[in-house]
Symmetry: C2
Subunit: 593 residues, 2 copies
């Protein structure tokens, strides 16, 4: 028997006879088991045999796993055997991935894919769309859809309210719609997609098309590699319509209150300037990683006669032709905005860099970091988007830095000239504290990097001026005063200073107490800058149960919005249907922001 089959059989047998020790012994001493909602009703990585045993002891009896079956052909490279498999639990069906070192498991992924009895209707099970025969008072699709949309939130309360209608809220709502979970997406902008449209004019996605598909409806084959923001905006607006989402645009969530007695949320909305209260069993804050601007408090702001704006409110460079511009920050937005201001004819553009940035040229990132999973070559090799996402998910976060470091070492070598130039220009850069590069720093901080599409060269050759290793001390009437004493004349100051933790939304909408109960969102607890320990092993509070019942956080880039929306949707669906969802290991709160 081949190693993966043998392992799966032994593992399945051990679990079937409830022999937790035997099951744990099938792992390496430092083996990993990452579970997406299948065993733990949580997103949880167990590290080492002890954690695996503890998890099984708490879950095995009710999960009742079975039907472990290999999928496709396992591959062995340099002593590591990898394979896919399927399995069932008492309530659902899952897909899994296995990495064997010799006979023992190094990494295991178990990911719930659907709930028994609540499978999505698709392909052979799709709806007829028409009911044949004679039906008195038949309603057309349009009539039914209009009645349903009008009823939801008025005569019929949704099961779930999703605050925030960017890609995260939209992807989740699409999954919930396919699972028949009544959900309303609340979006303050007038049109779906505006959260992209309203950003700076030169913005294009920094991730390539293969990484960015929405669930159910992939981009067509001619879609450009890097989507311009307005095109993504239009795509999302179209998607909301095609997926028949209950999307309340021009609607702002002003507050949400947990009704202890009814065990549901009262969600207070301002819809087209009318106040509406909606009640829902579950509340998802999908206000986004980039929803809560970090605006630095700069002394002298009130006396500044120029324009001071957060990058999220800055819309483009043409208006600043001939003017003196300062961009505070040195990550993606800062670079994009500085380049755009220069291209549109600003008389000077100065970037103020406070701390080192991970810089990687887009082409190399595509080739070396994403190419195997998200590229035309991957598509041709039969790696579907789902398979790519699950492959990413199969790598425990603990192992990621060591696996990523060689990629960034190689990038450093290949682009030695670029980095030399940046160094000469005084630009502070690194590949992360441990050299693990861009993806790591994104997971740790959600920021801290620039995917270079040309602005680094502009920094090198001085078209974008640079002041690095300084802070802004104050604003004066027509200038920015830096910590090294420099005074920069300025008509515009753009603060590309990033965003706060998503639990700030809980503070604003629910209460500071609720926000503190939830704690910091995002970050792994790596102990690196802005990502304090202890180690969590998963992104804190994302897509999983939080310390506040019935409150969830959803966000991230398009890939994460696509992938994790499935697991969040399954958690919500199970709760709606009354399927028991005992959560294993609710992460304690270590940080409030």
């Amino acid at each position: 028997m081949k190693p993966v089959s043998r392992w799966l059989q032994a593992f399945g047998a051990a679990l079937a006879r409830n022999d937790i020790d035997a099951a744990a012994r099938l792992f390496e001493a430092d083996g990993y088991w990452r579970d997406l909602v299948a065993f733990t009703w949580n997103i949880k990585t167990c590290e080492g045999q002890a954690e695996i045993k503890a998890m099984l002891a708490a879950t095995l009896s009710h999960v009742n796993p079975s039907s472990w079956a290999i999928h496709g052909s396992p591959v062995t490279i340099e002593g590591l055997t990898e394979g896919w498999f399927s399995f069932e639990t008492a309530v659902g069906r899952g897909i899994g991935h296995l990495r064997l070192k010799g006979r023992k498991c190094w990494t295991l992924l178990t990911a719930l894919q659907e709930l028994k009895g609540y499978e999505e209707k698709s392909g052979p099970t799709r709806e007829a769309g028409v009911e044949h025969g004679a039906l008195v008072d038949r309603r057309s699709w349009l009539e039914r859809r209009q009645e349903e949309a009008a009823a939801l939130g008025t005569t019929r309360q949704p099961y779930c309210v999703i605050v925030g209608g960017g890609q995260g809220g939209i992807a989740l709502a699409a999954r919930l719609k396919r699972l028949n979970v009544p959900a309303i997406v609340v979006e303050k902008n007038a049109r779906a997609g505006d959260s992209w449209r309203k950003r700076y004019r030169s913005l294009c996605l920094h991730d390539p098309v293969w990484y960015d598909h929405m669930p159910y409806l992939p981009f067509p084959e001619h879609w450009p590699v890097f989507s311009p923001k307005d095109r993504i905006g239009d795509w999302l607006e179209m998607y909301v319509n095609v997926m028949e989402l209950d999307y309340w645009s021009s609607t702002e969530c002003t507050a949400a209150k947990w009704d202890e007695k009814a065990e549901e949320w009262e969600v207070f909305l301002q819809r087209n300037n009318r106040e509406i209260t909606v009640r829902a069993k579950q509340l998802v804050l999908a206000t986004g990683m980039s929803g809560f601007p970090n605006m630095p408090e700069i002394p002298g702001t009130e006396s500044f006669k120029g324009t001071l704006v957060h990058s999220s409110r800055h819309d483009g460079g043409a208006a600043w032709s001939g003017r003196r511009c300062v961009v505070l920050g040195s990550n993606n937005s800062a670079h994009d905005i500085a380049a755009d201001l220069w291209e549109q004819g600003a008389s000077s553009v100065t970037m103020i860099q406070r701390s080192p940035t991970v810089v990687v040229r887009s082409e190399l990132l595509m080739e070396l970091a994403w190419g195997k999973l998200y590229s035309e070559a991957a598509v041709r090799a039969g790696i579907t988007t789902e398979l790519a996402d699950l492959t990413v998910a199969s790598v425990p976060f603990r192992l990621l830095p060591a696996l990523q470091k060689p990629i960034y070492d190689e990038i450093r070598r290949r682009d030695a000239g670029l980095y030399e130039g940046l160094e000469k220009a005084g630009f502070l850069f690194h590949m992360g504290e441990d050299g693990s590069g861009l993806h790591s720093i994104y997971l740790r901080r959600g920021a801290g990097y620039y995917i270079d599409v040309g602005a680094s060269q502009m920094v090198i050759d001085g078209r974008i001026k640079l002041k690095s290793g300084v802070e802004v001390d104050a604003l004066k009437e027509n200038s920015v005063l830096l910590s090294d004493g420099t005074e920069l004349p300025a008509d515009l100051v753009v603060c590309a200073t990033g965003y706060g933790s998503m639990n700030q939304w809980a503070a604003q909408l629910i209460s500071q107490q609720a926000a503190d109960r939830v704690g910091k969102c995002w970050g792994l607890g790596s102990g690196t800058k802005y990502d304090p320990g202890p180690w969590a092993g998963e992104l804190r509070n994302m897509w999983k149960p939080t310390q506040v019942p019935a409150l969830w956080f959803h966000g991230g880039n398009l890939m994460q919005s696509r992938h994790y929306s499935l697991y969040l949707a399954l958690q919500l669906k199970a709760r709606m249907e009354g399927i028991p969802t005992p959560v294993y290991y609710l992460e304690p709160v270590h940080h409030l922001k």
Copy 2:
């Protein structure tokens, strides 16, 4: 060597040495060669060796075919071997299909797929979407798109104007956009998709989802089998946006005039009540098979106090609750509308049948007629939409009736009860004059059938009353007078009396002379009712050069709009790029309507 390889090699060799006789001898005496634009710059079936020889004699020297290469694995069933292949011409690349009886070719399809040097950018050749580096005055995608849209038809004339923005015009415009052919679609309705939305409320597509995909952007997996009209409307509207079409809604084409000197069309438009003249080298009438209502002239119309309306203007049954309704006609629309009126509570619904109808239950049509090519099973068997379309295209129209008849014989057997019931009810039905069924009669007449989704049972049990074998003699104040002397009280008379030939649009927009030069559109010349001979072997004037230069007709169901839009687009693109397009065999005109 296997038969298909052997044949292809011999065929390629004969063509390469210009040995037309040898090439023709590789066909059966009654063999067929159907060419879609690859050899003939026409859509043309050559029947028998003589026609094949004549075609080759006229085309071979400039077509210069080469690189014949088998694709996939040919299949032999009951002495018939089928296989796919690719080939090249001097200017393009094609795909082909071959049916061998023994060593000789029974049917050959050659279909141009792309023009060399003008390949669509897709997959590995897709655009970057962003230009890296520093570009002074860079335009964003949105700015470029807006400038382009504003310029087209004002400062920059389109190469092509497409009159009619239903699925036909939209599919063609999408292909032209991907081929960089500037085209404007002119649509009188306010929104793309309105041509569907405005039809009777109960309408759902009669063809299943697998048959109905638009090019480039297939319906998602959960799309219902039979799309409700409003959902198709929304899909088309979305599609126009996503495909970035230059779609002028609320615009009516009032006239078009050929400017001999400039060799281009002057197209007169009423856009949002403003008159605009646009000039274009090519004019496509995509006003649809169902664009020109046939409204019978009924004596006494002026005295009728009820509502008399063509089916295309009738919007639904709810308003007719408690009223007496008469539906003139017995095809799809007539049945759908009659059933809807009954379901919505009309006090009586009477269908007036003038001549026999092909009736087939939807489920059986799906299973027996389309199942092998357009179904979930086909998808699972790896039959892509393109492959299914080309398979359909590979069957010469002459052979179709004999191949179709057994399907309808089987349907007749399987649904004996239904047909017995219809007979008892006095409903006149048949399977076409030669028993070749629904698809045949659609190709011959574009009408004459009902895909039964329940109304036949309503006719059988009398919920829909029937008067068959009669004509309407006159309308009186509150009734319809039939040719058998019956007088039917009526508040509503819906004329589901079909549509005229598309060249009527040429008469209306250009001139009667132009319409007469084009002649009848649609129909094969089968010599059956409404499809007079002589035999044409292809649908008359559809998607191919007509006797009026630079005037084209595009239309048909979603499958035809998808499939033939490619060949029409390639013909237009070649002309725009100045690639020689010598048309072989321009069909003479035999009928004016």
